[in-house]
Amino acid sequence: MARQEKISKNLDWITVLLFIVSVGVGWANIYAAIYNPENPLWIGDAGFFDTNAGKQLIWIGTTVLLIIAILVVDYRFYETTAFFIYGFFIFMLLSVFVIGAEIKGSHSWIRMGGFQIQPAEFAKMATALALAKYISTPLVNLSRFKDQFNVALIILVPPVLILLSKETGVALVFSSFLILLYREGLPGIYPASFLSIILLFVLSLIYPSWQIFIGLAILASLIIWILPRYERKTRNILLVVGIAFTMGLFVTGVDWAINNVLQEHQRNRIKVLIDPDFDRKKTGYNVRQAKIAIGSGGLLGKGYLQGTQTKFDFVPEQSTDFIFCTVGEEEGFMGSLVVVGLFLGLLLRVIYLAERQKSRFARVYGYGVVSILFFHFMVNVGMTIGLMPVIGIPLPFFSYGGSSLWSFSILLFIFLKIDAHRSQVLSRW
């Protein structure tokens, strides 16, 4: 009993409140997305629990049970068993290839009784735990190559397995751990190169290669010209030229990769981002309809349950990946602002919580939570407003789906549980 009191006193209720609001607003929007004005179903009506809104209600209920379980378990359990949990989900990812069920072209689901579980969703949480465990090991230094290598190994094994089961979207999420690593001392050159690679990648899609070559050449000469006389050594000049040359090679490589490595539908998703009118009927359709739904919302929206675009199936996957469209259409710019604010608030709050941890494990894990949530938010909302390619990942706490709701809740509440016990941690790194 005493333990329970302690939990309720030390739990960060602000985060819990943000979580409850997100899940509540999310469910309201799932209900709006499936709402049929000719046959409105409410809790208790026959068939209600066959709808996504009804099923999500069940998922929310089970999530509450899961959260209670997480809060009851000893906070040291997660640190102690971090590698074991990681290992378990690696095993699950492998087992998908044997016992996995195929849903929507992806081979990443495991059927358990009446419902399906996607191990990939949970692997993100497991990886965050394992990373925190490894980095918090004394004497680990992320500027050392050996540690960088081990960390890379931990991060890359799950997405490679996930990619093999054709779940590209989830695999990409693992790139978000760069944020965590950057915070924990990874040299800035890594995220910097990562961002420049993405920038170069986008540029190489928009402009023909020769224009980028000229641009790179001019940039390199400019840098060399600006360099102070005492820095203008052969070594530095060669370095700049070398980087520019590598970038040029990369651009050539991108062209080649786009045409030879990416699959047709992936290639189209990227092209749509650059040219919204490309392939209006097929690939462009989703993005166009999503933008129409959000754009037609106006300042104040059409009113709850009054959306025409989301309700009448113009927007595909409206209760899962494109749930943000319902918000945009029915609640307008003000509603979108609230949701963006909700996520930004949650992210900044978790950063604040992570920074106040005494244990490095807790802090690193906290940043893992932040990284994953941020990536999902950025990509999911970004694709509905045409700023990101269409990558099928859910909006945390909003999108319909048991696996995603469970995994995000577990991810967040493990951290809140550890945070609640932060004063009991004696060691300070």
Binding site: Y182, G295, Q309, F314, V340, I351, M378, G382
Partner: protein, 663 residues
Amino acid sequence: MEEIRKRFIQGFFILIALIYVGRLFYLQVIDETYKLDAENNAVRKLIQVPFRGLVYDRNKKLIVSNTVVYDLYVTPKKARVADTLRFCEMFGITRTEFDSLTHLAKVYSPVRPSLMLRQLSRQDYARVQDAMVDYPGFDFQVSALRTYDSKAMANALGYVGEISPERLLKQEETGEDYYRQGDYVGVTGLERQYEEQLRGERGIKYMMVNSRGVEKGAYKNGEFDKEPIAGKNLITSIDINLQAYADSLMQHKVGSVVAIEPSTGEVLAMVSAPTYDPSLLSGRTYSKYFQQLNLNPMHPLLNRPPSAYYRPGSTFKIIQALVALQMGVISPGTGFSHAGSPINCSHSHPVASDVQKAIQYSCNPYFYQTYKRIIYNNNERNVFKKSAFGLQKWDEMVAKFGIGQSLEIDLPNEKKGKLPDVPYYDKMYKGELRWKFSNIASNSIGEGEIIVNPLKMANVAAIIANRGWYIRPHLVKGIGKVGQIDDKYKEKISVGIDRRHFETVIGGMVAAVNNGTVSGDGRMSDIQMCGKTGTSQNRHGENHSIFIAFAPRENPKIAIAVFVENAGSGGAHAAPIASLCIEKYIKGRVDRKAIETKWMNKGYPLNIIRTTPKTDNAKNATAQKDSAVKKVDEELFLTSSQTLPLMGADKPNAVKIPMKPKK
């Protein structure tokens, strides 16, 4: 170091959030195009066609109404046809038609209903209704079909048909956007003239649809919907009994009967023979019958009363007499003998010792001399100048009778006819002052270059009946419950000739009927008809028989013009028909049954207009056979074969797919 990195991460998150908020603000608040796109996506405009207004005759008898018919719609995705052969048999279509119809529907939309077959009658509908249970995906929708209760006035009423591409194009040019492809619209006659009143106002219903086009209820609870407003009814001035009677008299004949109530200008009857059944052109049978009617050498689709061209013949002598009397070039007692006239009479008659006798016997030399006096009634010394000046004055006076002018009747395609003027002859003789009276003398007896139509001549009869004025002839006397007709149909128009001159002329007309050019069949013992015969010469066969009249002599109730093509002289053929119509209208019955039967059954050898003009026109003994006459003849020929109602190209209207709503 770590503090800075934390700040970087926080800053990065805030930056992304700000970019997204900015983008959202642009999409949702600034850019308006998405709102329009959303409406195009999810809101569908449904047009509800109102019932077209009904048409009544002057005694409130219904002559045009709407019949309920059924359109068959198919929704390809739901459609299941187990036995195609039986289905085709049931609807009377071939297998190929069936395939093309279902294919078109599928191309249009697999989930939205497409129009497959139009206008199934109530009987057909009842016959197939039970069997339709076996064919899911086929639905009937009620629509209306124009029904004409009387065949007697097809041309004046006109018909309703699918809008032609030409008319759609014209609409586009004028910036209107009422009609869309596939709409029904009045094509000719009153249906066209009063289209705007008859059509009513279309209703609009906004429906929400999902991404597959399935309807999902009213948009904003029908806030923007508009109920259709039924078209206004027309009360015509037609007496349908008289119309039907005149029509039956004109069977086996080609020509026109136009009857006008002189005091009001209201058209009592307007027959164009041969006629056709307008119902055949208003439904599924349109394409079949239109072609048939259009190719008919007798041009049943030509509304002869306002649109055909004839020379007025001797009926024009009344106008000559009135103009001459008004100008004072003759007095009622002036007489002329046959001597000195190049134009002679083909019949022998007592000397025309005064105006009345001249009209009674339709004396050609008399009017030659009269016309000569009219033309030369000025002080010019040069004979050419004298002629030109005289013609100009004559034109002014004759034009007031409506000759060569539009009477502005409420029908489309009214032809003005022709009243030759100075520039006309200048052009014909290739220069000014190159012609004189002798060149235009045939105008004196209504031949030459004067061209009229039956409507005009009926109006001339009304002018005489009124002793000097007329109201523009019109067919509609009331629109809707309170609707008023145009003020121009109330205005009395004077022809500028003294009343006493009319009394003089009318005396001649009475004599013509009782003891003159009119044959015995055209006389009534109980009603005094006043009339004038005419024989319109034409190069394409037997003369046209013309008669204009009014009755009774005092307080005339009816003025009439009868034209019978290729029938011969006016007194013998057109006059009996006119007399029967007058008797029917005034007494409500016809007592001269034997005469009625005789004229009803009489027919004339069909004279189909040839493409090569006859060289010999020997019967025309009096007309000057100069090039001018030939030229007018060519025009007569051209106008009568080309004044077909303007109609769109025929196209099968059974295969009709509704248009997608305009963006």
